[in-house]
Amino acid sequence: MGKQLTEMLKGTLEGIVLAILAGRSAYGYEITAWLRDQGFSDIAEGTIYALLVRIEQRGFVDVEKVPSEKGPPRKVYSLNAQGREYLQEFWRNWAFLAERLDHLHKGDRST
């Protein structure tokens, strides 16, 4: 994964994680594994964890501690109503940005 892509991803990672959690509840390791599968190979486990701590503090997710066979209990995150609202805002902003960049890419400067 190139440096430029990593930089771009930084601004959108929160939205990406919320979108994953909108589909189903997950714990940190599952989220990182899923992102790796999708080709986001450079994402550090610690970065995802820091982000999960933040979205928990901001009240976007509900957290349940689930016992694990190996190691300590896992924190399972699920998106709550406030998180869904925030995710919708993220998608609106994303749509705006994607549409503007697409125009720029196609050389259509009139809009």
């Binding site: 940190g28 450079d42 550090a44 964890y49 503090q57 300590p72």
Partner: protein, 137 residues
């Protein structure tokens, strides 16, 4: 530690208030020792990484104060989970460990003193520019 009997609690708490003036919070110290004990049980490479992380945080004067213990406890959770999943150290920290730790500590009041100073600076410029003194959020 054995639980205190009810009649000793009040006296002890007064004694402890004086003591803690000198020593700092004993509960905090206990929680910190618990984190250290959890880290002692980890594989050696995780311990080495945690020690380095702790040194980095302390060196910049962000090792105590509000939220510091939550921060250490959350870090301990992360390291225990990662060790249990046998996640390689590099995958926990990423290519840029500074980036990881700086992002991480922003989540806690101790990590936010830089942010507070930036906010103060932003407001000062706004005032100097003759704008309304709005609180940056």
């Amino acid at each position: 530690m054995t639980p205190e009997t009810p009649e000793s609690t009040e006296e002890k708490s007064r004694y402890r208030r004086y003591l803690e003036l000198l020593t700092g919070s004993l509960d905090d110290k206990k929680r910190y020792r618990q984190v250290k004990a959890r880290m002692e049980r980890l594989p050696e490479n995780y311990r080495t990484a945690f020690d380095a992380l702790e040194r980095y945080i302390m060196y910049f004067g962000r090792a105590d104060g509000p939220g510091a213990l939550e921060m250490y406890e959350d870090l301990a959770d992360l390291f225990e989970q990662s060790a249990a999943n046998a996640t390689p150290i590099r995958d926990v920290f990423g290519d840029d460990p500074i980036e990881f730790v700086e992002t991480f500590i922003q989540n806690y009041p101790v990590g936010r003193w830089m942010a507070r100073e930036r906010e103060r600076f932003t407001r000062a410029v706004a005032r100097a520019a003759g704008e309304e003194d709005r609180r940056a959020s």
